[in-house]
Subunit: 346 residues, 2 copies
């Protein structure tokens, strides 16, 4: 893929990072893992480091409930550690609070942080609190990979099977309902940390990435990095979370659009070589977890969705860029997505 056809946010990172020298102990190249993987000098231990803020989600009003904002501050980072199969070590918080934020609001925010911190096993080690005109929340989380193989976004090969950690679409349904101006009740949205799932996946998977930016963007990125395509050949109704599908039906939103938007459900997508599928699913069952089969990896780039002769090809790159290209206008974005999804949106 030439530089000109790279997604906008990848081009930006390349521009920003072009001046920096690379660390000799970093295991992953840029974009190639959900967390930065750094081997400790003279040790087998690899640190997994990720940093993510939710300032845009707060500024846009997507996240308004303070308990959810606190939860997501931790969860977005826990999700990145999960996608590299790391043990959680801890996190530091980056907060900017409005100076006049009522103490009860500060407490609700921190209760959300504490709840997700406990759920993820990511102790709050410290942080930095500033004051400014608008609320800004972010964190840096650190995990450990002390043995076994590394898990990154690279390694998928044609023929591998594609799985998700759980049914999809809640992130899209939540965003759609939140921005629909009160006409639709949002589904409950409280993504769970998938760290135990990720550690299991690391033993078997050829690649893994979380759906923080939506399923289509995740598949497009995995396609780009691995020079493969994907066929989502399972009936769509079986891939979607029931509450997400209910929101789409109530709103007259084509079901595939739940997978297309830039706000995801923070599940893991991963690929398994066929020879390890049985063993991985057996190990997952012992965790009480049933990974969701989505489809398989194909040769060449491209994304197909649907079964057999009803399947259609989608331009995942254009879908990924549609939000940016329509300037964030929801009606234009929905129309553009419907056009790009073509027959798949009917």
């Amino acid at each position: 893929m030439s530089a000109a056809t790279l997604p906008a946010e990848i081009r930006l990172v390349e521009q920003l990072a072009g001046l920096f020298s690379r660390s000799p102990v970093q295991c992953n190249a840029r974009h190639e893992a959900d967390a930065e993987l750094v081997r400790l000098p003279g040790s087998a231990t690899v640190l997994a480091i990720t940093t993510d803020a939710i300032s845009e989600e707060i500024a846009s009003g997507l996240y308004a409930d303070l308990d959810l904002i606190g939860w997501m501050t931790v969860l977005v980072n826990a999700s990145d550690l999960a996608a590299v199969g790391a043990e959680p070590l801890g996190l530091v918080l980056n907060q900017t609070l409005p100076p006049k934020m009522p103490p009860a609001d500060v407490e609700r925010l921190q209760r959300g942080v504490a709840a997700a911190s406990g759920a993820a096993g990511l102790s709050v080690l410290g942080g930095d609190t500033n004051f400014g005109p608008s609320l800004h929340m972010g964190a840096t989380a650190i995990g450990l990979v002390t043995d076994g193989r590394l898990l990154t976004r690279r390694g998928a090969a044609p023929g591998d099977l594609l799985f998700a950690s759980a049914p999809l679409g809640l992130g899209g349904a939540f965003a759609f309902a939140r921005f629909a101006g009160g006409a639709i009740d949002p589904p409950a949205f409280r993504p769970q940390p998938r760290l135990a799932h990720g550690r299991l996946v690391r033993r078997y998977a050829s690649c893994c990435m979380d759906t923080s930016d939506g399923v289509m963007t995740t598949l497009h990125e995995l396609s780009r990095l691995n020079d493969v395509g994907f066929a989502l050949d399972r009936p769509l109704g079986e891939l979607l979370h029931p509450e997400a599908a209910a929101v789409a039906r109530a709103a007259g939103l084509p079901l595939p659009l739940l997978l297309a938007g830039p706000h995801g459900e923070f599940e893991l997508l991963f690929t398994l070589p066929r020879e390890v599928v049985t063993e991985c699913l057996r190990a997952a069952a012992m965790l009480g977890w049933e990974p969701l089969a989505l489809g398989h990896v194909t040769t060449g780039a491209g994304l197909r969705i649907g079964t057999g002769r009803d399947s259609v090809a989608l331009d995942a790159g254009a879908i990924r860029e549609a939000y940016h290209d329509t300037g964030g206008d929801l009606d234009r974005y929905r129309a553009k997505l419907t056009e790009l999804m073509g027959p798949a949106s009917r």
Copy 2:
């Protein structure tokens, strides 16, 4: 010290952190080290983790030059790693850029980051870039302590000698000149990472803290944590950076006020038990470094400044709170500081 008399920012952190459970592998208590120290399970290695943003310095106009903003984004974090004597491992950036920031400005910012990253040996491992109405820059830096003792803010004992890594006052002089409305030329301000100094200090010192928040705040915090006092008994003219003193003289600013403000010079303050002073200074000389003797640790709380019968007692706690107490108004703040410094300001 009772909760009611704790400094405002310490009270805030206590309130924010009260809901969080502590990590069993964290070596330091809250506030007791410039970086969080976390022992890797089953290992002798301790991670040093720090996160710091410069959003307030950008918002106030204190840092306006993009090259300096980039530099300080890294430096404030490198300085915390230095104060615990860690080896630098790398950092992740947290950036919020205005969407219409000209590419040449983005490049100047990143060149500042790259320069400090190179100077500190802190590779940029990755980061998170968002877009928002105003520029926000922060980072999380990670270092390693693989052997020897830990260095924290705790451990000073009466009789220990107090040192600084270099002459002081440039942070205060820079802030004063920047906010004086163009009447005074600011001194060159480009703090250097003190990581090599910190690693040496860790072998000898009883405590260490950087002066990121100014010398008085640093001494007050060390006093509070160690239940000791400090006597700065060296003539003030010998403690101050010549350029800082020149700014103060040009502006009619009493010299001790250069040490009182909340913007520091990012040097290390550390205490040495008398029996290791000679050996430490000999080791420092081999680095081409001459630590600056400031005074000594005293019994009881309190800060004295000046020599012999001319020395005066200062209320470092009140000086620390003065900026907050005067609502950031520069004239009121200067008057309040002058009052608090009493005879020392003449």
